[in-house]
């Protein structure tokens, strides 16, 4: 019985959010096609994660276990996946349009000789054919497409778009352990070590909330008050900085937001002591809500902000932190 497959992504012993999103999407597809929903899990010593996939909707979990699969490496992952897909012949195979998903699915699709729709904003079924929606011309237009000849039909889903369906703890998936045929000697690439950047928080481009500081932070240590605010917001919050703050040595370059830094798109962007030069705006102007805190009422950032607070950030930010904490504790 062919099925709808999704690839489960995990990091540091936890399933990533995209996995739940893919399972929720898979459930919707299953309701239309009736085909079983299978999750693919690759790794080593993560049986506990395999068990967590059932409650989110997986009927079956193929758990490919091998020491070389412990961390994501394109070569070993794609080989293990291609072998399994060839033997099981699923109808649909979906992954996340994440950094590793984009990297992996392109190679898998080539190896399988099938097509791939990347970075889809929606995936649906229409007459048992995958109907994908994806932005083109830099988001000016959305296109809808089907890939009738492809087998399996493969697509990657943009993260943070699909609502995660409620968990059914009674549901258990059948876990099928597979030992992939991977000889260590045949592999060309290995992961030796993961070096982390200076920023402790989650990746800026994935953050839902960004608290960002500018030159008015005056000192590296003062970023603490932004971190306190970020901690109050909780998970999914990251710290950013303007070029001015980075140049002054208050913050590392890898958290710089702007034309020559990262382009971010969070739900909430709080600009603290950032005047809002056009170079900065180019990196964050598409944020859903922008809150600006600045002493200078003439600062250009207020032109772009949804909410502006004219005041000293060293007074405003701690108050904000208190209020957020209060709201959170009230639930």
């Amino acid at each position: 019985m062919p099925g709808t497959w999704i690839l489960a992504e995990h990091k540091e012993g936890k399933l990533k959010k995209i996995t739940y999103e893919l399972l929720s999407l898979g459930k919707k597809l299953k309701s239309k096609s009736g085909e079983e929903l299978c999750a693919l899990l690759l790794g080593s010593g993560i049986e506990n994660l395999a068990d967590q996939l059932g409650p989110y909707g997986a009927d079956k979990v193929y758990y490919l276990e091998d020491e070389v699969l412990k961390n994501y490496i394109n070569e070993s992952y794609s080989k293990a996946i291609v072998d399994l897909v060839k033997s099981q012949d699923p109808t649909v195979f979906l992954g996340g349009a994440t950094a590793s998903g984009k990297d992996l699915f392109s190679r898998v699709a080539v190896r399988l000789g099938t097509g791939l729709a990347t970075d889809c904003t929606n995936i649906d079924l229409d007459n048992n054919l995958l109907k994908i929606t994806r932005p083109i011309y830099a988001g000016k237009v959305l296109m809808e497409a089907t890939i009738p000849q492809a087998k399996p039909q493969m697509a990657t889903l943009r993260p943070n778009l699909v609502e995660i369906l409620p968990v059914d703890n009674s549901k258990k998936a059948e876990v099928i352990k597979v030992k992939p045929e991977l000889k260590k000697d045949d592999l060309k690439s290995f992961l030796k070590e993961i070096l982390k950047g200076e920023s402790k928080k989650i990746d800026l481009t994935e953050a839902k909330i960004i608290v960002s500081g500018g030159r008015a932070m005056k000192d590296k240590d003062n970023f603490k008050i932004l971190e306190e605010l970020a901690d109050a917001f909780g998970e999914g919050t990251a710290i950013g900085a303007s070029r001015a703050a980075v140049d002054s040595g208050f913050a590392p370059h890898d958290i710089q937001v702007g034309q020559t830094g990262k382009v971010v798109n969070p739900t909430l962007y709080i600009a603290c002591g950032i005047s809002g030069s056009i170079q900065h705006l180019a990196g964050m102007a598409t944020s859903k809500y922008i809150v600006a805190i600045n002493k200078d009422p003439e600062a250009p950032i207020f032109q772009k902000a949804d909410y502006g607070i004219v005041g000293d950030l060293f007074q405003v930010v701690p108050i904000l932190t208190q209020e957020v904490k209060k709201l959170k504790s009230e639930g």
């Binding site: 030159r215 034309q259 020559t260 830094g261 809002g276 102007a285």
Partner: protein, 668 residues
């Protein structure tokens, strides 16, 4: 006693021998020069044989009068002494040869006597002495002053020593001859006379004097003849190569980048190999005299970045010697050395702000920027290798025709509430005001366009804008090396200009000014372009603006490289500042020596990770003048200077565009 001297006195009949001996170094010299010419010819075609008269004039002023060399007093004077000393002594030798081997030999006519002989002796002694003084200046500079711009390698000293010894032995020969013969009229050979009187101290007899004379004569002969051969293999090669590089110079404005012709049908772009440069590019590497003025004026080098224009040229020369010599023997270089990455590093190429200071100060008119741009073009168009942050800039230009990812639909929003007409809605507009990206979108730079509109309206200028039909001019994309993107933008703008039949344009951004004036004609659209500083100057002098001279604070003017060095507009903006009553204070690096703000050559869109920040160096230079205002006439300079002031936390210093200052002074 007749006033003359016997040419081969005390030497015997060696005429034939000397000519035969002389043939050897001349063959060596010709062989050496021929090899250099063959090396240059490895380069691609480039037509530099037009404008012959212009070229001759230019060679006279830059090669003979050496106007650029003289821009620096010490080395200028030093070089002038050596050059004229060398030239007059060479000429003197030719005159003797002419007399001995032509007029005397064939016509038995001797002009080498009497008044002519005396003035000849005096002049040659004088210029020989001047040359010695020049060489001593040079040695003093290399030994004691040791400017950073000079490499001071042993070959540099060796060349000077050889030349010095040739000159000194010449005087010694003369000294012994005079000491031995003592005709009174030889007082005119004042240096030889002086040496003769020193020789007198030793009270040598005539025979000993003659022996010493003969020895020193042969020493001088061998050293001089050897020097001829040495010319082509030493830094004296520049005696030949520099005038050639000047003769074949580029007459385009500094910093002009020509479009890649027939872009659609090209198979490779830019330069990634030695032999893809033009022959003039390769000649330039030999023309370089390592004087280091480019480096002294390079904002990248002065801010501790890896780029030195001199190093680029000399690294190219070393590569030409190494790889070029193999190519001439039809051999491959094994292992191949990559031009980009091994000979010249990518960081060097990306550090260039294309400010043009190197080209403006180079005494021999070497063209640095076009070489750098050609290599950038290769990196961008062939390898897709460029600083990662630039990809966003490219993408934004492709999608919204401006650098900042702002929707093109709001390009004209800055003009809301102002009296500005659109071409799409009006037929009788005289001037197009091409606003440019910065003054359309950047809150700070919008103040420039708004100020200029008020000025134009007060003067009653009939102008309009293109609004959302205006696209980025393409200047930055071209200088980063993305010629493809630049030409797309240029073509789109040209189509719009054609649609409205635009003949006159006002620009408030020097980058637009330069590309519209100098480079759009090469893509097929010529029009009259005026920069707002020129227009304001004109309006003030015609009395069309009601200026209150109320602006008496000290102001320093920062020259935009593109307006100044590229297009020679130095005085007009300064006159405007004076007209509004500003008390002008000049920075040390101003006018043709102006120091870049750091944003040129597309550096605006790159991180400045190496060395110090150029804009900070510049605002510190401005601070030293004691001025409270830095005036400029470029929105990108304005951004960089304003940022520099903030970064350096300089109180009492603010940056303004010229148009803003003028508008503040208007009686409304």
């Amino acid at each position: 006693m007749e006033i003359t001297r016997e040419i081969f006195w005390n030497i015997g009949n060696v005429r034939i021998l000397i000519y035969l001996l002389g043939l050897v170094p001349i063959i060596v010299l010709v062989f050496g020069l021929w090899k250099r010419i063959k090396l240059w010819r490895l380069g691609k075609k480039d037509n530099r044989s037009d404008h012959v008269w212009h070229r001759i004039k230019s060679t006279l002023s830059y090669g003979i009068i050496q106007i650029r060399t003289l821009e620096k007093a010490y080395p200028g004077l030093m070089h002038l002494l050596i050059f004229w000393g060398f030239a007059i002594l060479f000429l003197g030798t030719l005159i003797i040869a002419f007399q001995e081997d032509v007029t005397l030999l064939f016509f038995n006519y001797n002009f080498f006597h009497g008044g002519f002989y005396l003035s000849y002796s005096f002049i040659l002694d004088l210029f020989g002495l001047l040359a010695i003084i020049g060489i001593l200046f040079a040695l003093f500079r290399r030994f004691f002053l040791r400017p950073e711009s000079l490499d001071n390698k042993s070959e540099d000293f060796f060349a000077l020593y050889w030349f010095l010894v040739v000159l000194v032995t010449g005087y010694i020969v003369e000294g012994f001859r005079i000491a031995a013969t003592r005709p009174d009229f030889e007082k005119w050979s004042f240096a030889g006379w002086q040496i003769a009187s020193w020789i007198d101290v030793f009270k040598l007899d005539l025979n000993t004097l003659k022996i010493f004379h003969r020895l020193s004569w042969w020493a001088h002969a061998f050293l001089s003849l050897g020097f001829i051969g040495y010319l082509a293999y030493s830094k004296f090669l520049h005696v030949f190569s520099s005038p050639l590089s000047i003769y074949f110079r580029n007459f385009d404005p500094i910093g002009m980048i020509k479009p890649i012709p027939d872009l659609e049908n090209q198979e490779t772009f830019g330069v990634s190999k030695l032999e893809e440069f033009t022959w003039k590019d390769l000649l330039d590497t030999d023309a370089c005299t390592k004087c280091g003025r480019c480096q002294d004026n390079c904002p990248a080098w002065q801010s501790s970045k890896p780029l030195s224009p001199k190093k680029v040229i000399l690294d190219m020369k070393a590569h030409l010697n190494e790889k070029g010599s193999l190519l001439l023997q039809k051999k491959e270089m094994n292992p191949e050395k990559n031009l980009i990455g091994q000979v010249i590093l990518e960081d060097e190429l990306w550090a260039c702000t294309t400010c043009g200071a190197c080209m403006r100060v180079c005494p021999v008119l070497i063209e640095h920027i076009p070489k750098i741009i050609e290599m950038r073009r290769n990196l961008v168009l062939m390898e897709s290798k460029f600083p990662s942050e630039v990809s966003l800039f490219f993408k934004n230009l492709e999608n919204n025709y401006n650098p900042w990812a702002i929707g093109f639909a709001i390009r004209a929003d800055w003009a809301k509430g102002l009296n500005v007409r659109l071409f799409s809605e009006n037929k009788d507009i005289e001037y197009l005001y091409f606003v440019g990206c910065a003054s359309s979108f950047d809150e700070r730079a919008k103040k420039i366009s708004r100020a200029l509109v008020n000025i134009l309206n007060q003067a009653g200028i009939n102008f309009g804008i293109l609004g959302t039909e205006e696209f980025c001019c393409g200047d930055h994309a071209r200088r980063i090396g993305n010629e493809y993107l630049a030409q797309i933008l240029i073509q789109q703008n040209i189509e719009t200009f054609k649609k409205y039949n635009i003949k006159k344009m006002i620009v408030s951004c020097p980058h637009g000014y330069n590309i519209f004036k100098n480079e759009y004609p090469l893509s097929g659209y010529k029009l009259e372009v005026v920069h707002h500083s020129e227009l304001i100057f004109d309006l003030i002098s015609k009395g069309k603006l009601n200026i209150a001279k109320n602006h008496d604070s000290p102001v320093t003017y920062h020259d935009s490289c593109v307006l100044g060095r590229y297009n020679g507009i130095y005085e007009t903006p300064r006159s405007v500042l004076k007209d509004i009553g500003s008390n002008l204070k000049e920075m040390e690096r101003s006018r043709y020596k102006g120091f870049c703000c750091g944003a040129g050559g597309g550096r605006m869109w790159m991180e400045e990770k190496l060395g110090q920040r150029i804009n900070q160096i510049r605002v510190e230079q401005a601070q030293k003048t004691g001025a409270g205002i830095i005036a400029t006439a470029c929105p990108y300079c304005l951004t960089m200077l304003s940022d520099g002031i903030k970064e350096r936390e300089i109180k009492d210093l603010q940056a303004y565009d010229l148009a803003e200052l003028v508008e503040q002074s208007l009686n409304k």
